[in-house]
């Protein structure tokens, strides 16, 4: 195992970190940068609780090694709000009760944000397909889908 010196931008803040070559991005965010909004669920790419954006593309942070993000831009759930103001996606989840226990919510919000960045007016089917990599055991998904539809409307008005 070797140490690697990496530079990365997380939520618009530049970091220089000494990482172990075997750390995952998820461990790096939670245990070394204190960004515990990103959750660990299955740790093998099935559940989406650890979803972050790497260079604006949604990715499972449990399946990325820390040195892989050298020079890359990472966005976590902590980076969605702007100076304390929730993003339209966050507001929509709150107002549509798109969550119950909340464990999957950071992953869903990142996945929804990435989806709406690429496709501002998704159909219900497209929302369900593109969020299929995020599991929720509480809501039954309907309120999450409604939250994303509402977020799309909010974004189109903003």
């Amino acid at each position: 195992m070797s140490k690697k010196h990496i530079k990365t931008t997380v939520n618009d803040v530049e970091h220089e970190i000494l990482v172990d070559s075997t750390w995952t991005l998820l461990e790096t965010l939670r245990d070394h940068l204190g960004l515990t909004g990103t959750k660990e669920g299955c740790s093998n790419g099935n559940c989406g609780a650890c979803t972050v954006m790497i260079d604006d593309k949604s990715s499972c942070s449990c399946l990325v090694l820390a040195p892989e993000i050298d020079g890359r831009k990472v966005t976590t759930v902590e980076g969605l709000a702007d100076h304390g103001h929730l993003s339209p996606v966050q507001d929509a989840f709150v107002e549509n009760s798109g969550l119950q226990c909340g464990f999957c919510t950071p992953g869903f919000m990142i996945a929804a944000t990435a989806l709406l960045n690429e496709n501002p007016h998704p159909t219900e089917n497209e929302i369900r397909l593109k969020l299929a990599g995020n599991l929720c055991r509480c809501t039954g998904y309907d309120k999450i889908v409604r939250s994303v539809q509402d977020a799309a409307e909010r974004l189109s008005k903003s």
Binding site: N44, G48, E68, G133
Partner: protein
């Protein structure tokens, strides 16, 4: 996670130098299989060589209909290019089926091939489009027709120190169409119980099938071609009767196992149904 070193070379030559070293050396592209395998001790590594900074392996080029896919190019990029240009439809469909969008954004088509799962969704489409694997090692390069690339579940013919450099798909005839379908018990995020890719090329004046290619996933230790069904279709007209017969013949190429995903008998039935459906889609696409 085993203890390993990590290198991210920025040239192919340096990468091949690392790969020809001693010990267990693991190339890394998207990592969606490899990192999970390392974590669960299904594969070991002394050194992980990240190939995502090697320019040749990130090339994705559509040139006069010929598609070159660098080994580290993501499923999302391949899906976007092929759907925007309306080409290689079977591959376009399969690259949007693997795992979730979060997986497709990282996972490479080259990695799907090198991981060599019998169920890999992109392999039947690559086979029906007659992909050639271009490999590289410190001692030279090779071109291997993809059908000869697989040696068993998780096994390829790559030698120690040799990597897949790119997949090259020859231009498709304007009179050809392809399709890929898999069966899974849910709508998404699952491993194929069986998968079938089909391609037919017709003689436009007569509608007679000039070329037929049918490839199967998840029904043998490696992906396989259904040669008997292909030969039967070539020279005939693709209609209801011949498609039914070809679907029956495709089952001959399937030697499935019974496991938690499905019985051998069920998988053979799936091959028949999916062959019929993919051939019908090809016919619709040609109309």
């Amino acid at each position: 996670m085993p203890n390993f070193d990590y290198e991210a070379p920025t040239s192919l030559k340096t990468a091949l130098g690392f790969l020809s070293g001693n010990g267990e050396i693991r190339p890394l592209a998207g990592g969606t299989d490899v990192i999970d395998q390392l974590k669960s001790n299904r594969r070991n590594a002394d050194l992980v060589v990240d190939l995502k900074r090697v320019p040749e392996l990130l090339d994705l080029e559509l040139d006069e209909g010929r598609l070159r896919i660098g080994a580290a190019v993501s499923c999302t990029e391949v899906h976007n290019l092929t759907s925007e240009n309306d080409c290689f439809p079977a591959l376009s469909e399969a690259s949007e089926l693997i795992g979730s969008i979060h997986i497709q954004n990282r996972a490479s088509i080259g990695g799907n091939v090198c991981n060599a799962a019998p169920s890999a969704d992109t392999i039947p489409p690559l086979l029906v489009h007659e992909a050639v694997a271009h490999t590289a090692s410190a001692t030279g390069e090779r071109e291997i027709p993809l059908i000869d690339f697989f040696a068993g579940p998780g096994q390829t013919v790559l030698q120690k120190g040799e990597i897949l450099k790119e997949l090259v798909l020859p231009a498709s005839s304007p009179n050809a169409a392809s399709a890929y379908l898999r069966f899974i018990p849910r709508n998404e995020m699952d491993i194929a119980v069986a998968g079938v890719g089909s391609l037919i090329e017709v003689e436009p004046s007569s509608n007679i099938v000039k070329k037929a290619r049918i490839a199967l996933a998840s029904v043998a230790p490696t992906p396989v071609r259904a040669y008997a069904a292909e030969q039967f279709l070539e020279g005939s007209t693709a209609d209801k009767t011949t498609i039914e017969e070809a679907a029956d013949l495709a089952v001959q190429a399937a030697v499935p196992i019974t496991d938690v995903r499905g019985s051998a008998e069920y998988r053979k039935e799936l091959v028949k149904v999916l062959t019929k459906r993919t051939l019908n889609i090809c016919v619709e696409r040609l109309a």
